[in-house]
Symmetry: C2
């Protein structure tokens, strides 16, 4: 079935089913922790962006999009599990429940992250067999984004002092996987370089807006760009990045949904 | 160039060059730590097994084998970096020098492992473009082995009590990536299922023998199968697994080198 034939809501329901079923089929030693880290959490922004990336340039098979969405959500989840570790952000809670390492122990926290990242890549190779170049290109986008995300994490731990340092770090730590999700969807739909660049431009603004909205929601004194430029300027920057994303959306197919998504992310309350 | 046209020594030199060059080209934030964890360490057993796996059933392009070898060595290296973390084995030294987290800090220890695993998968997708089914199949073997390795790590942390529990854990924690390396090489050379099974049988015995030899070399009271069955029985089991590997080798191409490798691993002093 093609993505264009199903609604956003149907896609999300299919994604949830795909995620749970595929993780259970893996018979992992850490199955419980892997499900705990992925199944009932999150806004599924990256899986949504895989779909939107494909529809922004054309269309693709829903089953292929779901495989990419599964991988990118696992990559995102592994990064949260490792982020929460005592050696990193040392967070006891995530999405209103105990973080993985608090619930399953610190060693299993490390290993659950490892298992999720490994499974993301394994699944992509499994699905890549018999597919054409487009799927392999799309899978490469996800791993490339995952690599940049680690670079961003390193910058975050090292600490940022200026507005530009924060924006550069955000573009990697948060933005890279958001851009990769859109590009993966677009690659799947066979986008050429020009279309890819338009998709990337939208996603870069979206990713930055998403992180700024996060900072404004979580403004609890933890280091963020708000400490450098203040709430008002952060709100102004969020509005600017959102409006830039909207402008980029107008150059793409399925523009109304892309506009809605950018406005939803900017206005969200969690 | 085909693998059959170059010697073992040439292959290892080419691997070393490939590893360093490719890691440096990545411009990773953690480049120093990634090089530290990979470049001057280890016996390169898994890269060797990629080559031997291909030659055991036929032949393959050296450049493709090197890409697989690079990925599997990065997977192996990431597992050591994470193994050494305080939450895991808490080892301050590895291969006679400070472990990654002791040298670069614990957060960077987590992230260096993540970066190595991510880069392994990213590189495989990059190289997979334009290659046939054989390369994708080979890459999938490596990620499948990496997944089983994590399962084995979980079993190791949970602790083993009986001979059979140790053997099962060893077959995953150590064996899975060794089997995967051989199978990846064999897949690259276009092995059919029957040839793959012969290669896997050799590698399973080899992997077990390798771990038993490790236990005998490192017998420092840390939990190992020696605590359960004693040194003498462990030595007997090592000799048995090595002789089984040699028997399996006789059914494969390039048998003499496979026999030599099994005997080298059993007799090694480090």
């Amino acid at each position: 079935m093609k993505l264009s034939a199903i609604s956003k809501t149907e896609y999300l329901a299919m994604f949830q089913e795909y995620l749970e079923r595929t993780l259970r089929e893996g018979s992992f030693a850490l199955e419980d922790a892997m499900l705990y880290a992925t199944v009932d959490g999150g806004k599924r922004i990256r899986p949504m962006l895989v779909r939107l990336g494909a529809l922004a340039v054309g269309d693709a098979l829903c089953s292929d999009a779901l495989a990419l969405a599964y991988a990118v959500e696992l990559v995102h989840s592994y990064s949260l599990v490792h982020d929460d570790l005592p050696a990193m952000d040392n967070d006891d809670y995530r999405r209103g429940k105990l973080s993985v390492h608090k619930k399953y122990g610190e060693a299993n926290g490390v290993l659950t992250g490892d298992a999720l990242l490994t499974e993301a890549a394994r699944h992509l190779f499994k699905i890549a067999k018999g597919k054409g170049e487009c799927f392999v290109n799309a899978a490469e986008e996800i791993l490339t984004g995952a690599g940049k995300m680690v670079d961003g994490q390193v910058k975050d731990l090292a600490g940022c002092k200026t507005r530009d340092e924060y924006l550069e770090m955000y573009s990697q730590k948060t933005g890279a996987l958001i851009v990769a999700s859109m590009r993966a969807g677009a690659r799947l739909a066979g986008a050429d370089e020009r279309a890819l660049e338009s998709v990337s431009a939208y996603a870069r603004h979206l990713g930055l807006a998403f992180q700024l909205a996060d900072d404004l929601l979580d403004d609890d004194g933890e280091p963020s760009i708000i400490n450098v430029i203040g709430r008002e300027e952060t709100e102004r920057l969020l509005a600017f990045e959102t409006s830039e994303a909207v402008k980029c959306a107008r150059l793409l197919k399925n523009a109304d949904e892309l506009v809605d998504f950018a406005e939803y992310l900017a206005a969200r309350k969690n």
